[in-house]
Amino acid sequence: MELTVLAFAHARETFGFSSREVICDPGDTPREILERLVPGADTRHLAVAVDSEYHSLDAPVGDARELALIPPVSGG
């Protein structure tokens, strides 16, 4: 399946892209997908969202269309 990976703010610098299409399986976890994209990338302060809902780095993405990389927020 095809998944859109969106990298926001500082995650864009860490991962080196703002949007990327990747091929993955429903059983893949965000951590596995990110490791394939950028091996060894730092995910310590990163949250992820799947189809606009926060999601564990280690839970399968299922039939998601979008994976968003969410560094610490700073709105307001």
């Binding site: 969106l6 926001f8 703010a9 500082h10 864009r12 703002s18 949250a47 969202a49 606009s52 809902e53 926060y54 968003a68 969410i70 560094p71 927020v73 700073s74 709105g75 307001g76």
Partner: protein, 129 residues
């Protein structure tokens, strides 16, 4: 409760208050302005970026939870994105309620929740600049 969530890319345009009944006794407004000094450095502005659909979803979730805890009549949330010059507002929130106590709690907790998990970011420079 009537709630409005707006993301804009121009200076925030404040609509007239939605006074939906004669039982509104409190209107609270918060303007968050971009300050010149951030961490000791002098800025000319900040660049705001959001995951808009997700930010909207998170805000809707928080507004519902806050409404259960501190019932108010209406809330308007406006966040400006892209470049916001120093001295201009990046954020505007208006809460109308019967009594001020609910409005104050609603407003102050909303800003805390916004800064906790709503996917909006401020950057010192525009991406790619």
């Amino acid at each position: 409760m009537q709630s409005t969530i707006i993301f804009c890319r121009e200076p925030i345009n404040i609509p007239p208050p939605p006074l939906r009944s004669l039982e509104i006794g409190s209107i609270l407004e918060f303007h968050g302005l971009v300050r010149e000094l951030e961490g000791g450095r002098k800025l000319s502005g900040l660049f705001y970026e959001a995951h808009e659909p997700m930010a909207r979803k998170r805000l809707e979730f928080h507004l519902s939870a806050l409404q259960a805890a501190h019932p108010v009549d209406s809330v308007e949330f406006i966040h400006r994105l892209d470049w916001v010059p120093v001295g201009e507002a990046s954020l505007y929130i208006r809460v109308c309620s019967s009594h001020r106590a609910e409005g104050l709690l609603f407003l102050s907790e909303l800003v805390v929740l916004l800064k906790q998990d709503v996917p909006i970011w401020k950057l010192e420079n525009a991406p790619g600049s």
